[in-house]
């Protein structure tokens, strides 16, 4: 039997599907929108990872919300375990992981060796997730790049409702009153940061804190979370891939 020199990790999230080709380090990676057909999503992810080669025989571990839709997966693992593994690959010291993705947010506590010892997830509610920010930004006619470019210091219009539907109503009322949209966006980001910080505190913060998931790309949000928790917040440019990396690491160990 040939020595397996490459493995694949796939993380099908609610908004984005992520894939990593791993050979001891990250040989290739891809991110595509999840769409409605997860089987098709995983196929297109595989073909962009393959770069024309046949990768169907490579060991594959799938994770994320759509993990059971991935064809050819050797095994599936939950995104909690895979995220934890992937984060430790990106940041070897991380003890607490805050992950805010498209439809859920979670906090994972790790021991010194990187093993998951506790976790919490938001229950059946979009408040404070990527979807929440997306809805609010859309209402303010902001793109993701606009959100990323915003400085977190300046006028703030606090947001009191965290329910995605009620918050939108509140935002509309503020727009009608003529509140500047920068101030509204800051209020929205602060509300997300406060909620995330409370979730971290509830689970228990052990430093260093690592912030992953799609929302970790928004620098001002990381800053606000750090201020709330009075701690440094580590981020990594490849953290959206953490789940896929973790899945690949598991496949790599078991190859």
């Amino acid at each position: 039997m040939a020595i397996v020199s490459q493995v694949i990790g796939i993380d099908i999230g609610s908004v984005g599907a992520k894939g990593v080709l791993f050979d001891g380090s990250i040989a290739a990676s891809a991110i595509v929108p999840t769409g409605w057909d997860m089987k098709e999503t995983s196929r297109s992810l595989l073909s962009s990872l393959a770069g024309g080669k046949d990768v169907t025989a490579l060991p594959l571990v799938a994770t994320g919300y759509g993990r059971n839709a991935v064809e050819g997966a050797r095994r599936t693992m939950t995104e909690i375990t895979c995220h934890a593994r992937g984060v430790r690959f990106l940041h070897g010291e991380a003890r607490t992981v805050l992950d805010i993705g498209g439809q859920d947010s979670k906090v994972i506590g790790l021991d010194r060796s990187g093993k998951v010892v506790d976790f919490a997830m938001n229950d059946r509610c979009a408040a404070g997730t990527g979807r929440f920010l997306q809805m609010m930004a859309h209402r303010l006619d902001y793109s993701l790049d606009d959100v990323k470019a915003l400085s977190c210091d300046g006028e703030v219009q606090p947001l009191t409702s965290m329910c995605a539907v009620f918050a939108e109503t509140e935002v509309v009322a503020h727009i009608a009153r003529g509140v500047p949209r920068e101030a509204l966006l800051r209020g929205i980001l602060r509300a997300i940061a406060a909620r995330a910080a409370a979730m971290v505190t509830k689970t228990g913060l052990t430093e260093p804190l690592f912030f992953s998931g799609g929302l970790s790309r928004i620098g001002s949000l990381a800053t606000l979370i750090g201020r709330e928790l009075k701690t440094e917040v580590a981020v990594h440019g490849r953290s959206p891939l953490a789940g896929a990396i973790g899945a690949a690491l598991i496949a790599w160990e078991e190859r």
Partner: protein
């Protein structure tokens, strides 16, 4: 089919026998008394010559009807109980003559006011503390009131002799169920948590108690002596606590499908009530009040008995992790979960709290939580 599989199969085939038994009893003129809670003294109902039956509260389908009168943001168990009554979809409710209910949580207490319009409700005032003489005195006087109310219904006096006989029978059931559950203390238990629940439910809904106990004791003996057909010894061992799970069996299913083995249920329907027996050496009404008062329900403040029970069961059942099920809008269990988490983690065990309701919409989210918890163990 091996002997263990045969027992489980028998239980599944006879799942609905209880409904026929209650119908027959009703047709013979035996009074049927409905209850909704482990605080209700089965012994008094039995001693009065009535049949006690736990009423339907487990179905999601009954909830839309309930929401015509009740707020949406209310515990699904409370809504389901009321919805079944309102739309006549609980056969046990249909045949029952009286409901003996209790002031445990606010949701139930106020729902019973509306339920009383459909069927007569006798409401038992449960004290909210367990440790003072006046709490015990209130429990005893409330239980005396239950006796008087039932005597009016059945026309039969509740004598100390009848009570003592009922206590002995119920204690035998408590011992019998605990002996069955104790089989899960083994390294390789004969039954999964799901199967234990099925057998427990069967006993609860078999109304010829003596016959059911003979069956239960025989089955437990068979299970004790049979080499298990499966090897469950490698699975992480989980204790389930929190709210009753009858309406959220999806949580148990998902937990065990994720690879865990539920070896102990601390909640209602599990060890909560049968853990302590009634002291047969004492004055019977005093002993009944004393026993029921010590139930470790989160409506009690403080609630030391639940903590004690948890510590004991975690140890006895050699548990790796504790999963707490919190039904939507169950404030007392939701708040208490903070202390439970601290206590469980201080024992070096893993803990997961899951909030859910009767709708099937969170299956995937449950699978992620349960799966990650099992991967953690």
């Amino acid at each position: 089919m091996g002997p263990i599989a045969a027992i489980v199969d028998e239980v599944r085939r006879h799942r609905d026998d209880g409904i026929l038994q209650i119908k027959e009893a009703h047709e013979k003129g035996i009074p049927i008394v409905g209850t909704y809670c482990g605080y209700m003294p089965w012994e008094i109902i039995d001693a009065a010559g009535a049949i006690a039956v736990s009423l339907c509260a487990k179905s999601d389908e009954a909830i839309p009807a309930a929401e015509e009168h009740l707020p949406r943001n209310l515990c699904p168990l409370v809504k389901s109980s009321y919805g079944h009554a309102l739309r006549g979809s609980c056969p046990y409710f249909h045949f029952c003559d009286l409901i003996v209910a209790e002031t445990t949580c606010d949701g139930k207490k106020k729902m019973y006011e509306l339920l009383d319009r459909i069927k007569p409700v006798h409401l038992v005032q449960i004290p909210q503390r367990q440790d003072r003489p006046e709490d015990l005195a209130l429990m005893k006087s409330e239980f005396n009131r239950v006796c008087r109310r039932l005597e009016t219904l059945t026309g039969r006096p509740v004598t100390d002799e009848a009570l003592a006989a009922s206590v002995a029978l119920r204690n035998r059931e408590r011992r019998g169920l605990r002996a069955l559950w104790d089989l899960s203390r083994r390294d390789n238990p004969p039954l999964t948590g799901w199967e234990v629940q099925e057998i427990t439910d069967y006993i609860q809904y078999h109304f010829d108690k003596k016959q059911a106990l003979v069956w239960l004791e025989g089955v437990t003996e068979t299970l004790r002596q049979t080499e298990p057909e499966r090897d469950l010894s490698a699975k992480p061992r989980v204790l389930v606590t929190g709210c009753p799970i009858g309406g959220v069996m999806k949580t148990l299913k998902t937990l065990e499908e994720s690879g865990a083995l539920v070896v102990c249920f601390e909640n209602c329907g599990g060890q909560k009530e049968p853990l302590k027996a009634v002291d047969e050496a004492k004055d019977v009404m005093g002993a009944l009040a004393e026993k029921y008062l010590t139930i470790g329900c989160s409506v009690m403040s403080p609630n030391p008995h639940r903590m004690e029970a948890l510590e004991r069961l975690i140890d006895e059942y050699d548990v790796d992790g504790v999963v707490e099920i919190v039904l939507t809008a169950c404030h007392t269990y939701a708040i208490e979960s903070h202390s439970i988490r601290e206590r469980v983690q201080s024992l070096g065990k893993r803990y997961l709290a899951v909030g859910t309701d009767y709708s099937p919409g969170d299956r995937e989210q449950l699978a992620t939580r349960m799966g990650a918890f099992v991967e953690m163990l």
